[in-house]
């Protein structure tokens, strides 16, 4: 029997580490390929358009080198189309998320994950590399492929969050998930480096490398991933409920109970008091979409995430363009500077996850961070043209916006998908993750169009005002949850004081 340990992590085996790493790198590869597309936009639009020359001068010759490709008349039209591709991708990703979450809870998570990774890699290869090698430039082909890519990529996130939820229980989830949700930002950084190092050979090679690496990742995951501790006989991690009071009770009772409880075929590791009702041998039933949607907390967090993901993804898609158009910096410099936002997001997600674990509550931490984010946005919109100051402000903004965003999409989704209301009898993790992220992606998709419209009509300052409004909106959606959690936190504090 395991030694008495109250909440320490000695039950983590190397299987846990491998599950963490494999799911981490699956999503890193996915995001790297998305970032590749963002980073080669300038090269792609150059490929699609003829050279621009002053009106009075003749066109460049030889025309095969300078004038031949006329998919779009000029770079502005090409940029508009690229923005439209982003929107199309996000919408199909959102729709796919709703579906994939449901599928993931019903089918083998490993198969769905591999299918998503390898399928998306193949589509990206066709989109970026094959069309260039065959010199096949067609607007409808690009749109169709990108819709397919969005649907295939949507299979990955719910599966990886569900697998992480299987392996890592409630205690320490905030910190572990905070660290783990750095995968999106790490993927951005990897994608930026991969793309910039291969871009000189041609943008098609950037797509080739990222899609091959992603496919290889899918193969490795297929052969090496364990979706749940149950597959090797380890115990499922406990779900100690939503509040700290319950947690401390179960922790103090656990060593006593474990001596008396029937051994359910577990190798070790602790299991929850809460799950003692229902026989463990009975497989959890997958939850229906509507039931999952109506679970407490899912709707407010989904809507809040819609606003937050809008701001986050707008930074992701538009930041290099904003930096080069507003400050006049070169594309490579702007790409490298935009990494700082991701760095801030990684640190923010981890630190805030840790803090929320310590407090036992997530919503108040989110609220404080989002309030400070509004201030950071104001500060960033007035940033001077100095690169160092800009990078620092960018990291700060990333900390305050990326932190809550990472938390909602990972730790909180896992919380929601394994909460008391399910009582361990329903598989809901992937479905709930799909709902939260799907709603977030719809918000992000709508936002892309709005950002480009606001920018072209009113300018960048109003885009920042729009971001501030959205951040405020996300706070508004979780106000009921903040109120509830703060009140229970206050009561627990008072209760503790009374005991002493």
């Amino acid at each position: 029997m395991p030694s008495v340990c109250c909440g320490c992590q000695s039950q983590y085996t190397y299987h846990h580490l491998l599950a963490f790493l494999l799911t981490f790198f699956s999503y890193v590869l996915l995001h790297a390929s998305r970032k590749t597309f963002s980073n080669v936009k300038v090269s792609i639009s150059a490929q699609w358009t003829p050279s621009v020359q002053n009106e009075s001068l003749p066109a460049f010759s030889p025309s095969q080198v300078w004038e031949e490709h006329r998919l779009f008349a000029d770079e502005e039209e090409a940029t508009l189309f690229l923005g439209a591709l982003d929107t199309i991708f996000l919408f199909s990703y959102a729709i796919g998320l709703y579906v994939s979450g449901v599928i993931g809870d019903r089918m083998n998570l490993r198969y769905v994950l591999c299918f998503g990774l390898c399928g998306s890699a193949t589509v990206e290869f066709v989109f970026g590399t094959l069309t260039e090698w065959l010199h096949l430039y067609n607007v409808y082909l690009y749109c169709g492929l990108w819709v397919l890519n969005g649907l295939l990529q949507s299979a990955v996130w719910p599966c990886v969050v569900a697998i992480m939820g299987n392996w890592f229980g409630k205690s320490g989830r905030g910190f572990v998930f905070g660290l783990w949700s750095a995968c999106a930002s790490a993927g951005n950084i990897l994608g930026a480096f991969l793309a910039s190092s291969v871009l000189k050979y041609g943008y098609e090679y950037a797509f080739l490398v990222t899609s091959v690496v992603q496919f290889a990742g899918g193969v490795v995951v297929f052969f090496g991933l364990l979706t749940s501790p149950k597959e090797v006989g380890l115990c499922q991690e406990s779900e100690a409920g939503f509040g700290p009071a319950v947690e401390s009770d179960s922790e103090s009772q656990r060593p006593l109970m474990s001596d008396e409880e029937e051994d359910e075929g577990c190798d070790g590791g602790y299991y929850s008091v809460e799950q003692s009702e229902g026989p463990q041998e009975e497989l959890p039933q997958p939850i229906s979409f509507l039931q999952a949607f109506l679970l407490p907390g899912v709707l407010p967090y989904s809507l809040a995430y819609a606003c937050l993901k809008l701001v986050n993804y707008s930074f992701f898609f538009w930041l290099p363009f904003y930096l080069s158009s507003n400050y006049g910096w070169k594309e490579a410099q702007a790409d490298r500077l935009s990494i700082w936002y991701d760095v801030g997001g990684i640190v923010g997600g981890t630190v805030q996850g840790l803090v929320s674990d310590f407090l036992g509550k997530r919503a108040p931490v989110l609220a404080v961070s989002l309030l400070l984010a509004m201030g950071a946005l104001v500060g960033y919109s007035h940033s001077p043209a100095d690169q160092v100051v800009n990078a620092a402000l960018l990291a700060l903004t990333g900390f305050f916006i990326g932190g809550p965003s990472n938390m909602i999409s990972s730790a909180i989704s896992a919380d929601l998908g394994r909460q008391d209301a399910l009582r361990g009898s329903q598989e809901a993790l992937a479905t709930v993750t799909g709902i939260v992220d799907g709603t977030g992606s719809i918000g992000a998709a709508g936002g892309q169009y709005l950002v480009s419209m606001i920018e072209s009509r009113l300018g960048w300052m109003y885009v920042f005002y729009f971001f501030i409004v959205m951040t405020g909106g996300s706070i508004l959606f979780i106000v009921p949850l903040i109120y509830r959690e703060t009140r229970s936190m206050w009561r627990d504090r008072q209760g503790l004081h009374q005991h002493l």
Binding site: S51, S61, W66, H69, V209, A216, F223, L225
Partner: protein
């Protein structure tokens, strides 16, 4: 006008090729160039083009003068004499774009577009009917003389060295090369290729994909042994 390559077939290996080559050499497709037969007659020795042809050891065919290109079997036009052909317009000189001397005098041509001469980078002397201007304007030629009812433009100046006009520029990774009187082309500089000269070097397929492939196989095997082999199916 059908553009046909002036020249013989490229040589293929083996003795058979040599024989074919010999046969073709004696009856080369030189005669297929339509421009050489725009009007009747052949190149005369005492014309400007004729003198140039004999001094360059060229071969006369119709109104054209051919010369071997740098010890290969392909030939190209170095001289074209279309004087007194009763032509009232010239549309296309693509077949003679390598010509060094062109004679168009004595024709009732009203005007001739500059673009006809785009690509004639080797053109050094051209004779035109009196009322016409030198292609590319006066600034594109070293010397312009009017004599015997024709205008003679000599010494094509490269557009790339032009200092009097506004600075011509070629986009990134390309450099200016002359492309006819008043024309320039932008050629990709060494190491760059592809559309708009954006691509540099050759992608190192082996160096990139071999490690990826090997890593994938090794990781898969390792992880399968460590993880999935222990799966309990119940």
């Amino acid at each position: 006008m059908i553009k046909m390559k002036a020249g013989c077939l490229q040589p293929r290996p083996a003795v058979v090729v040599f024989i074919i080559n010999f046969i073709i050499h004696t009856s080369c497709h030189l005669a297929d160039l339509q421009i050489c037969h725009t009007c009747n007659g052949t190149l005369l020795n005492d014309t400007v083009v004729g003198r140039f042809c004999s001094s360059s050891d060229g071969r006369v065919e119709g109104r054209c003068c051919f010369q071997n290109l740098n010890s290969s079997t392909t030939v190209h036009v170095i001289g074209l004499d279309l004087s007194n052909c009763s032509l009232d317009q010239i549309d296309d000189l693509q077949d003679a774009s390598t010509a060094v001397v062109i004679d168009l005098s004595g024709n009732p041509i009203v005007n001739i577009s500059d673009f006809v001469f785009q690509g004639c980078s080797a053109l050094n002397e051209i004779l035109l009917p009196t009322n016409l201007l030198c292609p590319g304007g006066n600034a594109s030629w070293e010397s312009i003389a009017v004599s015997e009812g024709s205008v003679i433009c000599r010494g094509q100046k490269s557009m790339c060295n032009e200092t009097r006009r506004m600075t011509l520029f070629c986009p990134e990774n390309s450099c200016c090369a002359p492309n006819g009187p008043g024309f320039f082309s932008c050629r990709c500089i060494d190491g760059y290729h592809g559309y708009k000269c954006r691509r540099e070097g050759e992608f190192p397929f082996i160096q990139v994909f071999a490690p990826i492939g090997v890593g994938m196989v090794m990781l898969s095997i390792l992880l399968w042994v460590v993880q999935r082999r222990k799966v309990k199916t119940n």
